[in-house]
């Protein structure tokens, strides 16, 4: 479904992302782990078009999308969340999600219709909010949310766009322990049988192990391994470079 072919991003001489070949099958859940600074977020930026690769290609459903700007890729069904929450701070939580729904459904270039009148958008937005459990915060300004709540809103924004390929950048970071299971189940439900694929960066190994079909390990920008969880966890290099001795 999504594939990268020798994706490389250099700044000067340094390869931040180094010749990465990835293949994501429909319905697959691919976890990405790797030490801090391995280039995971950078890889996401290349895939979603926020950065242009110096070499290599990004393919979606076999078509080359390397030259497309971010919004074109999003329209093709590529959605993502950000590591540092990036929500529309001066809009309410509900408006945030409605905007995302509307962006997905089209009809954003309607200058003379009342936005609030679109019941379908409102309903879809509320559904997304419900799914991440933010319904009660609907009228709060997104900028004033606590950190964990912003993470949930990020996911709601992603859900609203109903993407076929989802890139999650550390969705669990900063989420309180209690809410982890709930979010895990939300993320789990993202793939299901709908044929959607997920690429998720996460440092919480238990979450990765629970969700991922395969795990890709990045190190110094390169793909160290990409295999089933068991194989990856048994890999000595991974143990040494990433996991260390568990607490």
């Amino acid at each position: 479904m999504l594939a990268t072919r020798g994706l490389t991003w250099r700044i000067g001489e340094v390869a931040i992302v180094d010749s990465v070949y990835l293949d994501l099958q429909p319905g697959e859940f691919l976890g990405v782990i790797g030490p801090n600074g391995a280039g995971k977020t950078s890889l996401f930026n290349l895939i979603t078009g926020l950065r242009r690769p110096t070499e290599g290609k990004v393919l979606l459903d076999g078509a080359d999308i390397t030259a497309l700007p971010p919004h074109r890729r999003a329209r093709l069904g590529l959605g993502r969340t950000f590591q540092a929450s990036s929500v529309f701070g001066s809009l309410t939580v509900r408006e945030n999600v409605r905007l995302a729904v509307q962006a997905h459904r089209g009809g954003s270039m309607k200058l003379w219709r009342r936005a609030a009148a679109d019941r379908e958008v409102a309903a879809a937005a509320d559904a997304a909010l419900d799914r991440v459990g933010l319904h009660h915060r609907g009228t709060a300004l997104a900028g004033t949310l606590a950190h964990g709540e912003k993470r949930k809103l990020e996911i709601a924004l992603l859900l609203a766009g109903e993407p076929r390929v989802m890139l999650l950048d550390e969705p669990m970071a900063g989420v309180s322990a209690e809410d982890v299971p709930e979010l895990v189940s939300v993320i789990k439900s993202l793939t299901g049988d709908s044929g959607r694929a997920v690429l998720m960066v996460e440092h919480h190994m238990d979450v990765i192990l629970e969700l991922a079909d395969r795990i890709a390990v990045m190190h110094h920008g390169a793909l160290l391994a990409c295999d089933t969880p068991d194989t990856v966890m048994a890999n000595a290099t991974v143990q040494e470079a990433y996991l260390g001795e568990a607490l």
């Binding site: 964990g148 299971p181 190994m205 238990d206 607490l247």
Partner: protein
């Protein structure tokens, strides 16, 4: 708590933009070891730390009393507090994106003390290697290292650390935990942390916040041992800790 507390918070109330976020929070921080501040997202942990260092936002106000020794903290400007030995590592790392790593560290030097670069670089060799890189282009984990490293350059009487392991690789989490453990041998730490494994390893005392009030204070081990208590306060069984 037998020994005199290093920091005591009494009836701390914070209002921001008309919202009553902290509603009479009182607790004490022991003069040694790690006191951990727990609670779900949005209960006001970060707000508490920020109120202590005097960083309540402009549209808010903090009332009550915060004392370090005989000194009252609330009315004093932040930079004075910090110079007086109160180290603060904020939640969002807040490294200066436009400055290089070295410049970030140099900025943290305090006048009249010798900065302990050896100590910091020994803990985070990455910072030494990336000295000339702009902090904004560091990865999330590297930024966290920088944020902690910045504070450790100086001698502190008390450290306030807000979710230091957020977004860190398991290996680094372990490292950070070790660092904090070692730091805590000489300086008391007030720590906000979601990772219960880290909490278990470090914490001696615990304060649990719930909806802007203190729900529980006491021995951290006791809290984590009693499944029922953990469940009711933190919403997780102590077994379901991710590591």
């Amino acid at each position: 708590m037998a020994a005199e507390p290093i920091l005591s918070v009494e009836d701390l109330s914070v209002r921001i933009a008309g919202l009553h976020i902290l509603q009479g929070v009182s607790f004490e921080v022991a003069p040694t070891g790690v006191t951990v501040l727990l609670g779900r997202n949005g209960v006001g942990k970060s707000t508490t730390l920020r109120a202590i260092v005097g960083l309540t936002p402009r549209n808010g106000e903090a009332r009550g009393a915060v004392r370090m020794g005989a000194q009252s903290l609330l009315a004093r400007p932040t930079h004075r507090l910090v110079r007086g030995g109160l180290g603060y590592v904020p939640e969002d790392r807040c490294v200066f994106a436009g400055l290089t790593v070295t410049e970030n560290l140099r900025l943290a030097e305090r006048r009249g003390t010798t900065p302990a670069y050896d100590k910091v670089f020994a803990l985070f060799p990455e910072l030494d290697r990336r000295g000339r890189q702009r902090a904004g282009s560091l990865s999330g984990g590297q930024q966290q290292m920088l944020a902690i490293g910045r504070v450790l350059l100086n001698d502190n009487r008390l450290l306030l650390v807000d979710e230091p392991t957020k977004g860190l690789a398991p290996k680094v989490v372990t490292e950070v935990a070790e660092v904090l453990e070692r730091v805590a041998e000489s300086v008391p730490v007030l720590l906000v942390e979601q990772n219960l494994a880290v909490v278990r390893r470090l914490a001696s005392d615990a304060v649990v916040l719930s909806a802007g009030r203190v729900a529980w204070t006491g021995d951290a081990r006791e809290l984590l041992l009693e499944t029922a208590l953990t469940k009711s306060l933190l919403g997780v069984g102590s077994g379901e800790v991710h590591a």
